[in-house]
């Protein structure tokens, strides 16, 4: 609100001098409001045409049968009935949901813990810090399509580097991408390569915001490094942790590129993630209605998770009341 003081002063002095100034003041407010909406208009147009309109349209589509060529046919809840209740061999939805959830709940905790650990290690006064930060950050810049290809080659069961490593330490080779039991852990492992990316940097910023005097106080009380981490660092960075957790879950529910390029959803639907399913239904089978229904299912799931996290956050996220900016 600070930014308005100048104008408010002008306005206030106008008010004391009579009604003509009051009129110019309201005129100015009008002008400002019009300017506001003019400057916002590109976004507002985009919001209507690309977000709000499509959302309503997609809700409508989810109750129809539509193949792009014939007019959409209203079929009520048929899409949802089909998706949820088809008997197992054809009910891909449950499989897809299970696989997506499995991936999310394996990969999010592992990568959040990993990035936090890395951030803690990099938040020390090590020499050559820029070098370390760069070498951990760079992998996260690799485009997903490029890293998918790179990992396909590394996890190649015959000539890949991963199995060469296992052989060299006397372990049997693993069918990384073709064994249904291994493929999700393999995806999680791949995700670890991006550990030093934006999540880690956000943690680093959070860590640097922890007041030094808290550590000093803890040290005087005889706290060892683990106590300090547990009782000072963790509560202090809990808003950052929360932020990364929310974004992490949303992001990993939307995994697509690596699965599309590396496994195509296989073997035996083990990586048939939700977005891959949406893509197949909408753009390969041209079941636009069913695709829209799937997208809404994804949306509702993410909403529930996000709201649940916000609700749970009241118990564990610590906001410093007095010092909050």
């Amino acid at each position: 609100m600070n930014f308005a003081t100048g104008k408010e002063q002008v306005a206030a002095s106008g008010q004391s001098k009579g009604t003509t100034h009051a009129r110019t003041r309201s005129k100015r407010a009008w002008r400002e409001a019009i300017e506001f909406y003019l400057m916002l208009s590109p976004w507002a147009l985009g919001f209507i045409v690309l977000v709000a309109g499509p959302m309503i349209y997609s809700l409508y589509l989810s109750f129809t049968d539509y193949d792009l060529f014939n007019a959409p046919k209203w079929i009520g809840l048929e899409n949802f009935r089909y998706l949820f209740t088809s008997p197992p061999p054809s009910s891909v939805l449950w499989k897809s949901l299970a696989v997506t959830a499995y991936f999310t709940f394996l990969s999010v905790p592992v990568s959040i813990a990993g990035s936090l650990l890395l951030a803690v290690l990099l938040n020390t006064k090590v020499r050559g810090l820029p070098f370390y930060r760069t070498s951990f950050y760079l992998p996260s810049l690799t485009p997903a399509f490029a890293s998918a290809l790179l990992w396909v080659w590394i996890f190649n069961s015959k000539f890949g580097l991963a199995n060469a490593f296992l052989r060299s330490i006397g372990l049997p080779p693993v069918q990384w991408l073709t064994d249904p039991h291994w493929v999700i852990p393999t995806f999680v492992l791949m995700g670890l390569w991006g550990l030093g990316g934006n999540t880690m940097i956000i943690f680093l910023a959070g860590l640097q915001g922890v007041p030094v005097h808290l550590y000093e106080a803890a040290e005087i009380d005889g706290a060892n490094w683990w106590d300090r981490f547990w009782a000072v660092t963790l509560p202090q960075i809990s808003p950052t942790l929360f932020f990364n957790l929310v974004l992490g879950i949303i992001g990993s529910f939307q995994i697509f590129t690596s699965a599309y390029l590396m496994t195509g959803g296989g073997p035996n639907y083990s990586t048939y993630f939700l977005v891959l399913y949406i893509y197949q239904e909408a753009f390969k089978s041209l079941h636009m209605g069913r695709g829209a229904a799937l997208a809404w299912i994804l949306f509702v799931i993410l909403m529930i998770f996000t709201l649940l996290q916000f609700w749970l956050s009241r118990r564990w996220v610590y906001y410093e009341g007095g010092e909050a900016k």
Partner: protein, 293 residues
């Protein structure tokens, strides 16, 4: 109580050891980590320079012998890779310029202007940040299809002109709010209009946030796989992402993995260039996201 504890002095060597051991351990962990993290990239680079005989062996050969630089040449002969790169660059340039312009405009309005309904509008902006893109994906496709824009660049170019994204608007607003308003007021007294203040006073002061947003959008546009996959069909219009995917599919039959690896290396180079050029903006920008989020 504390006094009685400190009387028992610890021997000097122990104090020294307690200081040195954790630090050397830290160096060892970090160095090992840095090596492990660079292995995939080094392996890709190494594979891209091998010939078919050396790429399909079970013995690990880090330094290719002989080195086949001509793999990169072959890449450009086999596929119109130059066209792919050019196509990607056009899309990237458009999205960077469009996003910076329209998002900063909206961000400025939110930061400096007062209007009824402003807070509600801002809530809408934030709301779209949490909206998964898949919900609007299919209707967007249908709309672009009805407009006859499938297999053109319009679906990839237009959206960034319409607000440029919630995240960008949010960051621009946050940055503008840190700028002192005295400059605006002085300019207003000198007779500057709002647009003029935005353009010739606020934007020139906002170079850090503009650079950050430009860098991020460069990376996102270049790395985008899904949008071109859905909207582009003709080979000549492919972006580098689609070009590489095509190469991979053909490689699975012709087993030319060294070419796929060369393509992957090529697609990473622009990311490296932009990283080393704009290094300082990375940390700043990302940190801004997290601390204000």
């Amino acid at each position: 109580m504390r006094a009685s504890q400190s009387v028992r002095r610890e021997p000097v060597w122990r104090v020294a050891a307690l200081r040195i051991i954790p630090y050397s351990l830290l160096y060892i962990i970090l160095t090992l980590g840095a090596i492990v993290f660079s292995i995939p990239m080094l392996w890709t680079l190494s594979s891209s320079l091998k010939d078919t005989i050396h790429i399909f062996t079970q013995t690990v050969q880090w330094i290719p012998n002989p080195v086949h630089w001509e793999n990169y040449l072959e890449l450009f002969i086999r596929l119109p890779f130059l066209t792919f790169i050019w196509n990607s660059l056009i899309i990237v340039a458009n999205n960077v310029v469009a996003t910076v312009l329209t998002a900063s405009l909206a961000g400025y309005a939110f930061a400096r202007l007062r209007a009824p309904g402003r807070d509600f509008m801002f809530l809408l902006v934030i709301g779209t940040m949490l909206l998964p893109g898949q919900v609007t994906l299919i209707p967007r496709y249908i709309i672009f299809n009805k407009l006859g824009m499938i297999d053109t660049y319009w679906p990839l170019l237009l959206p960034s002109w319409l607000g440029g994204g919630a995240f960008e608007i949010f960051l621009f607003r946050q940055f503008f709010m840190t700028l002192p308003t005295e400059l605006d007021d002085a300019a207003r007294i000198d007779g500057c209009g709002t647009l003029r203040i935005y353009w010739s006073i606020v934007l020139p002061l906002s170079q850090p946030v503009i650079a950050t947003m430009a860098i991020f959008n460069f990376i996102w546009s270049w790395s985008d796989f899904f949008t071109p996959l859905i909207y582009l069909n003709s080979f000549q219009k492919f972006t580098i992402a689609l070009g590489l995917a095509t190469l991979q599919r053909s490689a699975e039959q012709s087993t030319r993995w060294e070419l796929v690896m060369a393509g992957a290396v090529l697609s990473i180079i622009p990311m490296l260039v932009i990283f080393f050029l704009g290094q300082k903006y990375f940390v700043q920008g990302i940190a801004l996201t997290g601390s204000k989020g």
